[in-house]
């Protein structure tokens, strides 16, 4: 009982102190007593503070280290984020440049008249060296049919081999099944330009222009374009004058029936990102 009374008295005293303290001004008795009490206790506080100082310094040092580490983590995350952004911007700029090139090509004089362009993003690269095909994100819903030629602003890419509703498989010129009728365009035009068939080179990277008459003039540096022949109702699948590549070497051996013409393609088949599929109007 007594202890409850004591506790109640102490609480009442606390409340009384609280009330008086809040009601009186700074010069009041309790404020003065508090200042006096502080003056008495301050040496203890000072002593405590002096004892604590080295520990506080050590704690502050460790805290600062932790803070610095956290700052470093934040900055590293920010750098990573900005680098990612930069990569995205660079990709966008490269894509923009590629698309601008395609647009210039589509709007330019080199684009064949009888076709309309369908631009497709390459969504699958060649799976292996034996299967030189790519898949583009454009299909029959855009009028693409098997046999549609595929180009970029740099030159001929290949031919559509399979089509689904939204995708098309394109067989590249580097595939062993590819064969394109081509003609050599020389800076010094002759009466009979050299013609042949572009095929993948069996022994080296690049292409070869096969079945070229050894008597015809072919020079290193000449440009090879699609010939786009027509014979009655038959015609080449490729329109005329699509650039294919540049002649890099010409071999005329006596034992061969034809000249062997090595061609460096204009198109880099390893880095195709967007292509233009030519759809007959």
């Amino acid at each position: 009982m007594a202890r409850r009374v004591v506790a109640a008295v102490l609480i009442l005293v606390s409340l009384a102190l609280l009330t008086i303290y809040l009601r009186e001004d700074d010069e009041g008795g309790l404020h003065a007593a508090q200042r006096l009490g502080l003056a008495v206790l301050s040496p203890l506080e000072v002593a405590g503070e002096r004892i604590a100082r080295p520990f506080q310094d050590a704690y502050g040092y460790v805290s600062d280290l932790v803070g610095t580490k956290q700052d470093t983590d934040v900055l590293e995350a920010r750098i990573a984020s900005l680098e990612e952004q930069l990569r995205q911007y660079q990709n966008a700029a490269e894509e923009n440049e590629r698309l601008r090139g395609l647009l210039d090509y589509v709007d330019g004089a080199r684009f064949p008249d009888d076709y309309r362009p369908v631009v497709g993003r390459v969504i699958a690269q060649p799976a292996n060296a034996y299967n030189q095909t790519i898949v583009v994100a454009a299909g029959s819903d855009k009028g693409i049919t098997p046999g549609s030629p595929v180009v970029t602003d740099e030159g001929l890419v290949g031919l559509v081999s399979k089509v689904t509703g939204g995708e098309a498989q394109v067989t590249l010129l580097t595939d062993e099944s590819a064969a394109v009728s081509a003609v050599v365009v020389s800076p010094q035009p002759s009466d009979t330009p050299a013609r042949g068939i572009i095929e993948p080179s069996p022994s080296a990277a690049g292409l070869v222009l096969d079945r070229v008459d050894k008597a015809l003039v072919v020079n290193v540096g000449d440009t090879v374009v699609s010939s786009g022949w027509t014979l009655g109702d038959l015609s080449s699948r490729y329109p005329y004058n699509i650039p294919i590549g540049t002649v890099t070497s010409v071999g005329r051996q006596d034992i061969d029936l034809y000249a062997r013409v090595q061609v460096e393609p204009f198109v880099d088949f390893d880095s195709l990102a967007e292509v233009v599929i030519l759809v007959k109007r």
Partner: protein, 176 residues
């Protein structure tokens, strides 16, 4: 009895000085260990509610004086805390698991004091975000108090050794 009063006064005074000049500067988030409250809990558990209430009142006066805060405010809270610690000590004196008894007391009284402080400040017109107080002050303080509770109790137990118990059920000696 007088020795216990003096020891309690010294313990609380030392704890208050350490709390204000030393412990308060080691913050976890915005909370810090409350060795003054831990001391009151220990005094209350070891010596009962009367000691707890008086020690709490004295501790509150010291804190309010040393920090030039509103006199009586901390006394009010710590008087209640000390008394409650003593009552908990009485109610759980037969409890076998001393650690659980101490930890539960620390949890209850830390929460009570922090919530009480918040309420008193709200009544006095101070603005405070309850979520911030709970998340940034109460929980870190509670965690630190729990870490320190057992060693601090062991220290206080050396200062206030438990009174020797009379053998129960032993033969009564009757003077003839």
């Amino acid at each position: 009895m007088i020795a216990d009063v003096l020891k309690a006064a010294v313990l609380v005074t030392v704890a208050a000085v350490l709390q204000i000049s030393f412990v308060n500067s080691f913050e976890l988030v915005e909370g810090h260990a409350d060795i003054l409250l831990l001391s009151l809990v220990c005094v209350g558990l070891l010596r009962g509610p009367l000691f707890g209430a008086c020690a709490g009142f004295w501790a509150g006066l010291l804190v309010d004086t040393m920090t030039l805060e509103t006199l009586g405010l901390t006394s009010l809270l710590l008087t209640l805390a000390g008394y409650l610690a003593g009552r908990i000590g009485e109610l759980t004196s037969d409890h076998q698991n001393q650690r659980a008894r101490i930890l539960i007391s620390v949890i209850l009284l830390t929460i009570a004091v922090e919530v009480g402080t918040l309420l008193v400040h709200l009544f006095l017109g101070d603005s405070a975000s309850v979520g911030t107080i709970v998340g940034r002050v109460l929980l870190p303080t509670l965690a630190l108090n729990l870490v320190l509770a057992i060693p601090w109790y062991a220290l206080c137990r050396r200062v206030f050794p438990p009174p020797a118990r009379r053998e129960r059920g032993g033969p009564e000696v009757i003077a003839v």
